[in-house]
Amino acid sequence: MKTATINKSDIDKCIDLLSQADYRVIAPRMQPRLDGPDAIDVQVFQEIQPGEEHAIGNDLATTGIKEFLFVKHEPLFAFEQRGKKVEITPVSHDFPKTVMIGVRPCDAASVRSLDNVFSASNVGYNDELFTKRLEQTSFITYSCTDPDASCFCTSVGLAPDSDRGSDLHMTEIDGDRIHIEVKTETGEVLAQLLEPLFQGEGDAAARKKAGEEVFAKISRIRDSNPIRAWLDDTANFDDEMWQRLGEKCLGCGACTFECPTCHCFDIVDENRGGKGYRVKFWDGCQFDHFTLHASGHNPRDWQYKRYRNRFTCKFKIYQEKFEAQGCVGCGRCIRGCPVNLDITEYMAEVAQKATAPNAVTSD
């Protein structure tokens, strides 16, 4: 495995070199805001041109990278009604050669989970809009330095310096240097582009130490191991916990849309006077009409059942159906929840119930 170091101040030059090689560069960027006492930092991934400001190495971005692979809305085709006939016209989709830089390990790990859904070989399904984008995309990941109180990646088998899903992995080793590891052949191509910036071999010992230091900073630690078996037991489907913890859920989609692995979508015809587009766009299991049948029956009739589905999807359905990790522990669903509904509270309680099945829990 090839390693190297670069100066942290040369990150901007990385963007220049990648852009010169005709990559579309996607990086986190601070968002404009109204100045005032309530202003908070919002950072999202956006296409970035050489010389533009970026937020690589800042806190975890407010939203992840999934919208560049699983676009939040896109037309599938155009239609127009002519008399009794409907004319269908294809719409073109472009799949630009892209590199995402400054991607945190949790976000990078989530890409594999999405890929298993959209190119699920076990169900013979291939969403070309996703897979063609992914083919064209490479990932330069960046180890975390400053996890916050909502981060819990270490509880789901990841770490602030994980390189899963990474092509080229960067880790800050001291204040001003970055250790680079080439993880894949794609990463090798990127490394050749960045070679002019290399300051010699990597420093594996310093990189390991940096990773361990950040690992120790993660304060929210849960045991996710017993969850799957507990969820597999159908008797627990009607456990009183679901209602007790979930009754305050408001049914917005903040958690699902911020989640890097949530992948549900809807397809509608946007029809204006007989012509329009068939559009695919994000949908979420937390909305009350998500499972509403045409008959009026709704199998998930109350909100706590919808959150039960979300939790079960992350820790059972994902593993069962897609052989992938459902939750990457980014903590966005905790930060973004208007009522502080916390997935790790469910995790803790399930772990407790699973390990002490006869324990009486307070109601």
Binding site: P32, L34, A39, I40, C252, F257, D266, V268
Partner: protein, 298 residues
């Protein structure tokens, strides 16, 4: 103060007068609180009241949130002054009867602007801007108030000060202002947190969820997002009580309450109406008065 409130809540739950008390409890990290539904009198100990109590709990009184309301006959609710204003507005709009709720009021010094800014106490550096000139620090209505009866308060001053950042926005060139919203709306993915936290979004089926006919595009493209935010703002004209929860709840920090703040000024100027202060007076856009202004009809 909190002990007094807990004791009263316990008394009313034990006597059966209240089925539930909706309040705030410590959240999953030290900078947050979370809504709690206290049914068991012993659980009143979990109730807290401090600068972290940002949520507007009256949303749970709105009939749209059928669950967990199911089966509650009389509901106790812990409310800041601005929350109680929302309850008053719900009553004015026939969403709620006054005798269905028991209001635990308390004097409020304000709430924190964001959990990240919470350092253990409320201070000039972390108070939410909506709280700086609040005229309901002493609430307008309450069944319980620490220390006895609810004192009278002077409310002749300005109401719901329009935040300085919103005024700045209004002073921008039109094209700059439009660019600001275009960039902000680019982040919107239509999670509808702004709708779900709103105590006054009362429709059982929101217009944006209706598909027959499909009034608004549901996808989060530019057209769909603009249509949604404009519709939301217009549906709250003369009804919004300015709690600012829509902006707080937005996971990508789109300052959607700027629209509501601006429309509040328009309504006050046009109809001399302040939402949330009277159970009898109806919002101006759902009533007609012979002396209503007509100068906008040309």
């Amino acid at each position: 103060m909190i002990e007094e409130l807990r004791n009263k809540a316990k008394e009313l739950l034990e006597s059966g007068e209240l089925d539930v008390v909706i309040g705030y409890a410590d959240g999953s990290d030290s900078a947050r609180t979370t809504p709690i539904f206290v049914r068991n009198p012993e659980d009143v100990e979990k109730l807290v009241v401090d600068g972290r109590c940002v949520n507007s709990l009256p949303l749970f009184l709105n009939k749209r949130h059928e669950y967990p309301r199911k089966g509650w006959k009389k509901t106790g609710i812990v409310g800041k002054g601005c929350d109680i204003r929302a309850i008053t507005q719900l009553i004015a709009e026939n969403q709620l009867r006054r005798d269905e709720v028991y209001i635990f009021g308390f004097p409020c010094d304000g709430v924190v602007s964001h959990p990240n800014n919470w350092d253990g106490s409320l201070n000039d550096g972390n108070i939410a801007s909506k709280c700086s000139d609040c005229d309901v620090k002493i609430p307008t209505d309450a069944d319980f108030y620490p220390g006895g009866t609810l004192p009278d308060a002077d409310r002749s001053g300005p109401y719901q000060i329009t935040a300085p950042q919103v005024l700045n926005l209004m002073e921008m060139e039109h094209s700059d202002r439009f660019a600001f919203w275009r960039d902000s709306f680019d982040r919107c993915f239509k999670c509808y947190a702004c709708r779900e936290v709103c105590p006054h979004c009362s429709c059982n089926i929101c217009i944006t969820d209706r598909t027959q006919p499909n009034w608004l595009d549901q996808a989060a493209h530019k057209k769909g997002v603009f249509a949604w935010h404009m519709t939301r703002a217009m549906h709250l004209v003369g009804r919004c009580t300015g709690c600012g929860e829509c902006t707080r709840a937005c996971p990508v920090d789109i300052q959607v309450d700027a629209f509501n703040q601006h429309m509040k000024d328009v309504i006050q100027g046009s109809f001399d109406y302040k939402s949330g202060y009277s159970e009898e007076e109806k919002p101006p856009l759902i009533t007609f008065k012979v002396d209503d202004r007509e100068d906008f009809i040309r």
